[in-house]
């Protein structure tokens, strides 16, 4: 479904992503982990069209999307959420989600109905008339997911939707991610919350200094020496996770 061929992204002298290749199949739930500055978000920005890679190609469903603007890629069915949430702050939750739905459903009434469905799916029902900027962070993260979902993506990139949440909120969002996946949306998830990642992801890719240093099942990753050295540390125990 998504193929990265030796993608490299540089900022001046800094290589943020170095020759990363990746294969995502329809129905996958792929996790991406790595220390801060490993190039995870940069990789998302390249896939979704926000950055043009210096080298390599990005293919989505057999089509070369390298260099296409983000809106064109989103219309093909590949969209993302933002780590630093970007709600349409002055608009209501319902309008936020409806603007997403308008991409597939040009008629406002249809988009409104679709937005209602997605809002309920994401557990935002009681907040539909609230101004987006008035929501607490946990709900703003949900709003990011809801808005992206309303565009009916086939592949959705979730950038740290769990960061900064308390344990109760975490359970809720993990549940939401599972539900989205169950709806048939292929997911790539960036997350620092290892416990959640280990339970959620079918496959995990580890980035370090912009390079892919490991790929495998959560079990394989947790026992990979390079991953432990670079990221998890010796104290990490899969049983605790």
């Amino acid at each position: 479904m998504l193929t990265l061929e030796a993608v490299t992204k540089r900022f001046g002298g800094l290589t943020a992503v170095r020759a990363v290749s990746l294969e995502v199949r329809a129905g996958d739930l792929l996790g991406i982990i790595g220390p801060n500055g490993a190039g995870k978000t940069t990789l998302f920005n390249v896939i979704a069209g926000y950055y043009r890679p210096e080298e390599g190609r990005v293919r989505f469903e057999g089509r070369d999307v390298t260099g296409l603007p983000p809106h064109a890629i989103a219309r093909l069915g590949l969209t993302r959420t933002f780590q630093i949430v970007k709600p349409f702050g002055n608009l209501s939750v319902a309008d936020n989600v409806m603007i997403g739905a308008l991409t597939r459903l040009p008629r406002v009434a249809h988009a409104r109905a679709e937005a209602e469905r997605v809002i309920d799916l994401c557990g935002l029902g009681p907040h539909r008339y609230a101004r987006a900027r008035a929501l607490p962070i946990a709900l703003r993260k949900r709003l990011e997911v809801a808005r992206a979902l309303a565009t009916r993506p086939r592949l959705l990139l979730l950038d740290e939707v769990m960061a900064g949440l308390n344990p109760t909120e975490l359970v809720g969002i993990v549940d939401l991610v599972r539900r989205v996946h169950a709806e048939g949306v292929t997911l790539i998830v960036i997350e620092h919350v290892m416990a959640a990642m280990m339970r959620l992801a079918q496959r995990i890719v580890m980035l370090h200094h912009g390079e892919k240093i490991a790929e495998g099942t959560p079990q394989e990753i947790a026992h990979d020496r390079r991953v432990i050295d670079a990221y998890l540390g010796d104290e990490f125990n899969l049983a605790e996770a």
Binding site: Y50, H71, F88, D95, I99
Partner: protein, 325 residues
């Protein structure tokens, strides 16, 4: 929502009062005031399409106003053609200029965009002042008065209804922007361009469209203004004072709302007309006092109601609804 919201009622009432004015009064000064309130309101609504709904705050909309004013004035004064033809030419030129400004908006953000629009209007002002062979330079262009609709030589009452139609049209376009797909997408662009892109909105194209439509409307109103006032000179029609006025009417009334520009225009235009009439004749030293009062009102609004008069009204309505509940 099935029932009409209070702000829609306010707009209907405002336009109805304007429509009924000529039936009650024939006083030229009063009719002139109503015409100017409507015309400045329509111009601010045009600005609001780009500055309010799309969030592209321009301080150079006098450029489009001036293009429209000159196109109509030169067409009737120099070529003895219908100013309507000039209006069409002005709109066409403004569409091109708007596309250029729209392109700038994709390169420059916020204050940098606003500064570049100021520069754009200033350049046109210099061109109009120096190109004496074509524009008569800073002497300006007197517009000949030829009675008739085709030549736009109209009486006050006819002008009032013509401008009223234009104003209602501008209002209707804004209402459309509040309810349509394009309008919602523009709101997305205004709130966060990156997020809008992720949702499949072609943000660059939408911004250019908003600015082009705004420019065309501003230009058309500029053409009508030139015919109504009867004189065009570069230092006025391309002035930053005008650009600021379009923006301020909207900001004072309520930026990004359909009613806001007209409310702002009602307050500012009538205040200005009243203060000018009251103070200018009495003592020469008071001539500029309306500017001071104008400034104070502005400071008060921006300090205490940054969301404008419609914002105050909205809070009052919410408070009353709670009090009754």
């Amino acid at each position: 929502m099935s029932r009409l919201a209070p702000d829609r009622w306010a707009a209907v009432a405002m336009f109805a009062v304007a429509a009924l004015t000529p039936l009650v009064v024939r006083d030229a000064f009063l009719l002139d005031s109503v015409i100017l309130i409507l015309l400045w309101g329509a111009l601010s609504a045009a600005w609001n399409v780009a500055g309010g709904y799309a969030g592209q705050v321009s301080l150079g909309h006098a450029a489009f106003f001036g293009i429209g004013a000159y196109a109509a004035a030169l067409m009737s004064a120099r070529y003895a053609q219908s100013p309507w033809l000039g209006l069409a030419v002005g709109v066409a030129l403004s569409v091109v200029a708007g596309a250029l400004i729209g392109y700038l908006s994709n390169r420059l953000k916020g204050p940098y965009f606003a500064l570049s629009t100021i520069a754009f209007a200033e350049v046109l002002k210099i061109v109009a002042s120096r190109w004496r062979g074509f524009t008569s330079g800073s002497e300006g262009v007197p517009v000949p008065y030829r009675p008739g609709f085709w030549t736009l030589g109209l009486g006050h009452v006819a002008w009032l209804y013509l401008i009223l139609v234009v104003a209602v049209g501008c209002y209707a376009l804004q209402v459309y922007l509040e309810r349509s797909r394009v309008g919602y997408q523009l709101a997305g662009v205004r709130e966060d361009e990156d997020a809008a892109e992720a949702l499949g909105i072609a943000t660059r194209r939408r911004k250019v469209q908003a600015i082009v439509v705004s420019a065309a409307m501003t230009s058309a109103c500029g053409s009508l203004w030139a015919q109504y006032v009867g004189f065009v000179d570069p230092s006025h029609v391309f002035s930053i004072d005008l650009s600021v006025r379009f923006a301020l009417n909207s900001i004072i009334g309520g930026i990004g709302t359909a009613l806001g520009p007209f409310l702002g225009s009602l307050l500012i235009t009538s205040l200005e007309t009243y203060l000018r009439a009251t103070f200018s004749g009495v003592e020469a030293s008071f001539t500029g006092i309306y500017l001071i009062i104008y400034g104070v009102v502005l400071i008060l609004i921006v300090r205490f109601a940054p969301d404008g008069l419609t914002g105050i009204a909205g809070r009052f309505w919410a408070w009353r609804a709670r009090a009754h509940a």
